[in-house]
């Protein structure tokens, strides 16, 4: 903010770096984070432009080329770079289209759990007498169940589909947000600037969303990144158990599930989808580490 004033000063070295530049300096110091970001950009690009990038249609079956190995191994075909699956669909194209599903599920789940999570977290920090403990007890109950099991139970009730996968994962990750927002809002509430705002006559709404919330953003962004990666992992697990996105959609977990029967003769149908999940999740976690280093210096040592 103050940069505009100081830009008239002759020596540019005296200027504050712009927030963006400062952020990038912190972020790029972490080499793993940069590598993760590169890979993630690649995945996002592939997802956005899937029809242009993918060599084939993901559900098109090439019956003459069933279980063709990847192009570099014996019996491989140059047309199918990563080989084909049991009914002759191109692996690479399915993985590319699968990235759309995974990113979509992850992103929607993060958004649908983050917004109520912020609201409930702020409410429980601002009303510590009755509402706060009530909200936290409900969250405790949700945390007593292993998250994957709760997600499975929800999908079992609602029925397997992409929308229900998103709902289940969003519900499961809600307590994490509530606890995080509550904890950081409660530290902020003791600060002088909040008291000052209160004395100046700011109402509860303004205090919550304008005064306190922006100062809780750093840990929140880091947590959102991490829960994005675990959402992708959970979605794949649900798909693998046959309770997520249904075939013939090219979902990574569902691809692995149908690959189980070919484990003895077609290593690529087992290896490729899992490797894609691992690398994507790893990339997002690396980016999350970098974000933490850049945004939240306090947390650096806790890592």
């Amino acid at each position: 903010m103050a940069t505009q004033v100081s830009s008239s000063v002759a020596d540019p070295a005296l200027n504050y770096p712009s927030p963006l530049k400062e952020f990038w300096q912190g972020f790029s110091y972490n080499k793993g984070a940069v590598i993760g970001l590169c890979f993630l950009t690649l995945v996002v690009f592939a997802a956005l432009f899937a029809p242009l990038v993918a060599p084939f249609d993901p559900v098109e079956q090439y019956r003459d080329f069933m279980l063709t190995p990847p192009s570099w191994s014996a019996g491989g075909h140059l047309r199918f770079l990563l080989g084909t699956d049991e009914i002759g669909r191109d692996m690479l194209s399915r993985l590319i289209y699968g990235s759309r599903l995974s990113l979509m599920i992850g992103l929607s789940a993060v958004l649908t759990s983050m917004l109520p999570g912020i609201l409930l977290g702020l409410l429980s920090a601002f009303y510590p007498k009755v509402l706060g403990p009530l909200i936290m007890r409900v969250m405790d109950v949700m945390m007593a169940l292993p998250s994957l099991l709760l997600a499975i139970a929800i999908v079992a009730i609602l029925g397997p589909s992409m929308l229900n996968t998103i709902i289940a994962i969003a519900i499961v990750s809600l307590p994490g947000y509530v606890r995080l927002v509550r904890a950081s809002a409660m530290t902020e509430l003791n600060r002088d600037y909040v008291t000052a705002a209160r004395v100046a006559g700011a109402g509860p709404m303004r205090l919550m969303f304008v005064t306190v919330l922006p100062n809780c953003m750093a840990p929140l962004i880091v947590h959102a990144t991490m829960s994005f990666s675990s959402a992708i992992l959970d979605a794949a697990a649900l798909g693998f158990l046959g309770m997520g996105v249904q075939p013939p959609s090219a979902e990574w977990g569902a691809m692995l599930s149908s690959a189980r029967d070919y484990i003895e003769r077609a290593w690529w149908v087992v290896t490729m989808p899992g490797l894609t999940i691992l690398l994507s999740v790893l990339a997002i976690n690396l980016v999350g580490d970098g974000l933490r280093d850049a945004l939240d210096p306090k947390l650096k040592r806790a890592a």
Binding site: V141, A144, P146, I157, S229, A237, F240, L286
Partner: protein, 342 residues
């Protein structure tokens, strides 16, 4: 100490009640009522339908149904499976040792390897080994364990032929269940009759090893990371320097003076991993056809066996709450400051 335990128990009450409310309402969120679910696609005579609803108490107001549900639970009645008509509690009891055996094996692996790797990485900070451990643990943390399980099967069972693919023991052994732990039961059987059960223990261990690796990977990664950072913190402390200065051997300083204090946060993490372990057991047991609680629940969900789903989930949740409670109590015993806090 007793008042501390009682206070903790009192705090559990809302969670336990909340869980029952959750499992009670889960089953009522299914579209259609339980009778329709039981009958399936067949059409149902409305009179019989009403009679069945009445017989099961499903025509009462919801809050009375909930009270009934609680009363049944308090009497130890967890209902019957729609498929096998066995008592849910009986089924749980027979299958639970399998999950416990798997979870204990996984946890042992995770603790031993994770602690050791974490300690060495902390001592050799910045070395190639340190970077290797940190990289591997990050990968382990991001690992889809169902895929890891498949990879392990592909490498060790299919390609190398070292381990069997599924189950707990070879079908040619008929091991009498005594403890429910296959490795121990096999050992008992083999020592009683070394000829008929020759190689039973080895076979049981071989069956156990791959699922334990698959299930133990994530806790192992978490423990290694936590141990490393906690050790680094402790190694900077004055008492470590004092111990070094008075001429104790490096081994003694690290394993007695430093590690002991570094273990406290690690223990908490180990306690927290129990939930993850139960979630992971669902996936691991499905892949390796391990006849435990996880596979039981998944099968029940696929067969729409709702009493099993409902109360199976309830039992697992109780289990997680119980373990967390025990960790809390242990923590209170280890650390008086927690015991005497408000």
């Amino acid at each position: 100490m007793i008042s501390f335990i009682l206070r903790r128990l009192w705090l559990l009450l809302p969670s336990v009640l909340g869980i029952t409310l959750l499992t009670f309402s889960l089953i009522r969120m299914i579209p259609g009522d339980p009778i329709e679910v039981m009958v399936g696609e067949r059409t149902l005579d409305p009179v019989m339908h009403a009679a069945a609803l009445h017989r099961l108490g499903l025509d009462k107001p919801l809050y009375l149904q909930y009270v009934d549900y609680l009363r049944n639970l308090a009497h130890g009645d967890l209902g019957q499976s729609l498929i096998t008509h066995d008592n849910v509690w009986t089924e749980f009891k027979t299958l639970f040792p399998a999950t416990l055996e798997l979870a204990l094996a996984a946890m042992m692996l995770a603790v031993v390897v994770g602690l050791l790797a974490g300690v060495i990485a902390a001592i050799k900070r910045g070395s190639l080994f340190d970077h290797g451990v940190m990289g591997l643990s990050l990968a382990g943390f991001s690992m889809p364990i169902f895929w890891l399980g498949l990879l392990l099967i592909m490498l060790f069972s299919v390609k190398l032929g070292w381990t069997p693919v599924s189950g707990r023991i070879d079908l040619m052994f008929d091991i009498p269940p005594r403890t429910g732990f296959m490795v121990i039961d096999a050992w008992l059987a083999e020592s009683a009759d070394p000829v008929a059960y020759a190689g039973a223990v080895k076979d049981a261990v071989m069956h156990l090893i791959l699922p334990a690796i698959a299930l133990g990977t994530i806790p192992m990664a978490v423990i290694a990371r936590m141990t490393r950072s906690s050790m680094l913190e402790v190694l900077r402390e004055d008492y470590v320097r004092t111990a070094r200065a008075k001429g104790l051997s490096p081994k003694r300083v690290i394993f007695v003076h430093a590690l002991r204090n570094a273990l406290i946060p690690v223990l908490t993490v180990i306690g927290l991993q129990v939930g993850t372990l139960m979630g992971g057991a669902v996936l691991t047991e499905t892949i390796f056809s391990w006849p435990g609680i996880g596979k039981w629940l998944i099968d029940a969900i696929q067969r729409r066996d709702y009493p099993v789903v409902q109360n199976g989930i309830l039992l697992v949740a109780f289990l997680v709450i119980l373990v967390n409670f025990l960790v809390d109590v242990l923590y209170g015993i280890a650390n008086p400051r927690i015991r005497h806090a408000k």
